[in-house]
């Protein structure tokens, strides 16, 4: 097997984690990874030797994700969802998630895709600001404001969830 393919195979776990944080549903996330891998293989020649395979693959996947989110938003397709997509969403993962884990995963899904990607890139994937800005194709200042607002938004959503949970408990 050639070296480039071996390097790509080695990045699949990280790509899956990033996709899962963007999309949550396991099959949908793996479909995104598959799209990314297919595009990467077609463009194998564009990958310059010396360039980190991780950065190259994350850039491809990020473009796929953001392009699609923009199209969905423009066409308003979100309003005409087939039932199965939302059903798939209701039963997301096979593994048992703790309540805290489920809440933060749901809150992450609710923040804007741009902010979600920026935050995940740095907070979970561990890229530096410079690397993340490069992958997302935005200036460092924009990346920073997305991270800051993403964190603030996430905190607000989690507080909101906690508040609603305590209201439910009181109502019982």
């Amino acid at each position: 097997m050639d070296e480039k393919k071996a390097a790509i195979l080695g990045e699949i776990p990280r790509l899956r984690r990033y996709a899962r944080s963007l999309l949550r549903d396991r099959d949908s996330a793996d479909d995104l990874v598959q799209d990314c891998l297919e595009r990467a293989l077609v463009r194998l020649d564009n990958w310059q030797t010396g360039e980190s395979p991780r950065r190259w693959l994350f850039t491809i996947m990020h473009h796929l994700f953001i392009d699609q989110m923009r199209k969905v938003n423009r066409r308003g397709e979100a309003a005409m969802l087939p039932l199965e997509a939302s059903e798939a969403q209701a039963a997301p993962a096979e593994q048992v998630e703790s309540i805290a884990s489920r809440e933060i995963v749901e809150a992450l899904q609710a923040i804007s895709p741009d902010r979600r990607a920026a935050l995940v890139m740095v907070a979970i994937e561990g890229f530096s600001y410079a690397e993340a800005a490069n992958i997302l194709g935005v200036p460092a200042g924009t990346l920073m404001s997305r991270i800051a607002r993403g964190r603030e938004e996430l905190r607000g959503l989690l507080d909101d969830t906690a508040r609603r949970r305590s209201i439910r408990i009181v109502e019982k």
């Binding site: 195979l9 776990p13 990280r14 899956r16 984690r17 899962r20 944080s21 963007l22 999309l23 949550r24 549903d25 099959d27 949908s28 996330a29 793996d30 479909d31 995104l32 598959q34 891998l37 297919e38 293989l41 994700f65 699609q68 199209k71 969905v72 979100a78 969802l81 087939p82 997509a85 939302s86 798939a88 969403q89 998630e97 805290a100 884990s101 933060i104 995963v105 749901e106 992450l108 609710a110 923040i111 895709p113 902010r115 907070a123 979970i124 530096s128 600001y129 935005v138 200036p139 200042g141 924009t142 920073m144 404001s145 800051a148 607002r149 964190r151 938004e153 905190r155 959503l157 909101d160």
Partner: protein, 264 residues
């Protein structure tokens, strides 16, 4: 090194390992002395730990055979979703489900999330105006700096707040003039400045704002950047293609003077 003021921005930088090592001690001292900031920092760190914990398990999952097959060239590979449900529909579904649940909060922060927030809109309008007018040689402004008093009165009346053109000579910039522009549902005042090398920056001021925010915004790589503030009743963005630190310094001076002018 001289001691500098820290802000919320540094909390993020410290958390993300982006704070220079020689500032770390001063930062920790600042954090110790600010209970509110310390609590915020602890909360963000806890949220991050929860995020990592929630997703780390993915790394240990067995890789689906179909993904390995794509790379190894054993095509054709069929996707998982039974009826060709595309992955992005699930993304949209997720957004809708959560909005249904936390509607109250999300309504306040911009629905599906791709819509512009007040600060993004301010920054984008300010950058768009800058790109158009800062490049103009003969028609960059409607009212030139030599009619400064008239300029300030006219823009103040139109925009609806007391506007004083900041003196940015200490930063090397002289007022070129200003113009009136549309912004959202209202009007904006644009003030253009130039240094002796011909580098231009602009101030974009609006009088309508319910949000409170500050930050930096750049719409594209190598394009101009906006440093903005929004508060109840006014908003201001300083736009230019200067290095970030320099733009931030100019913006800080401009904002201080604008604010002093508003309240004079």
């Amino acid at each position: 090194m001289s001691r500098r003021d820290f802000s919320e921005r540094d909390i993020h930088m410290a958390l993300d390992g982006e704070l220079p090592g020689d500032e770390r001690t001063a930062y920790e001292a600042w954090l110790e002395a600010n209970a509110e900031m310390k609590a915020k920092s602890a909360r963000y760190a806890a949220d991050r730990a929860a995020l990592r914990a929630a997703f780390n398990g993915v790394l240990d999952e067995p890789i689906p055979v179909r993904l390995n097959k794509v790379v190894l060239g054993e095509a054709p590979v069929v996707k998982a979703s039974p009826s060709r449900t595309r992955w992005w529909l699930a993304a949209a579904a997720a957004a809708i489900l959560v909005i249904g649940g936390a509607g109250g909060y999300l309504a306040g922060i911009g629905g599906l999330g791709l819509e512009n927030t007040a600060e993004d809109q301010l920054a984008e309008e300010a950058i768009a105006a800058h790109v158009i007018y800062a490049a103009e040689k003969r028609h960059a402004v409607e009212v030139p700096a030599r009619d400064k008093d008239h300029l300030q009165n006219w823009l103040s009346n139109q925009v609806g707040l007391k506007l004083v053109a900041p003196d940015l000579a200490a930063q090397g910039f002289q007022l070129v003039g200003g113009r009136l522009l549309p912004a959202g549902q209202g009007k904006a005042a644009m003030l253009l400045y130039e240094d002796d090398k011909g580098e231009r920056i602009s101030l974009f001021v609006i009088a309508e704002s319910a949000a409170k925010a500050k930050g930096t915004y750049g719409s594209e790589e190598n394009g101009p950047e906006a440093v903005y503030w929004l508060d109840k009743g006014y908003g201001c963005a300083v736009v230019g293609s200067l290095p970030h630190e320099q733009l931030a310094a100019v913006a800080k001076s401009a904002y201080g003077q604008l604010l002093a002018g508003l309240k004079s």
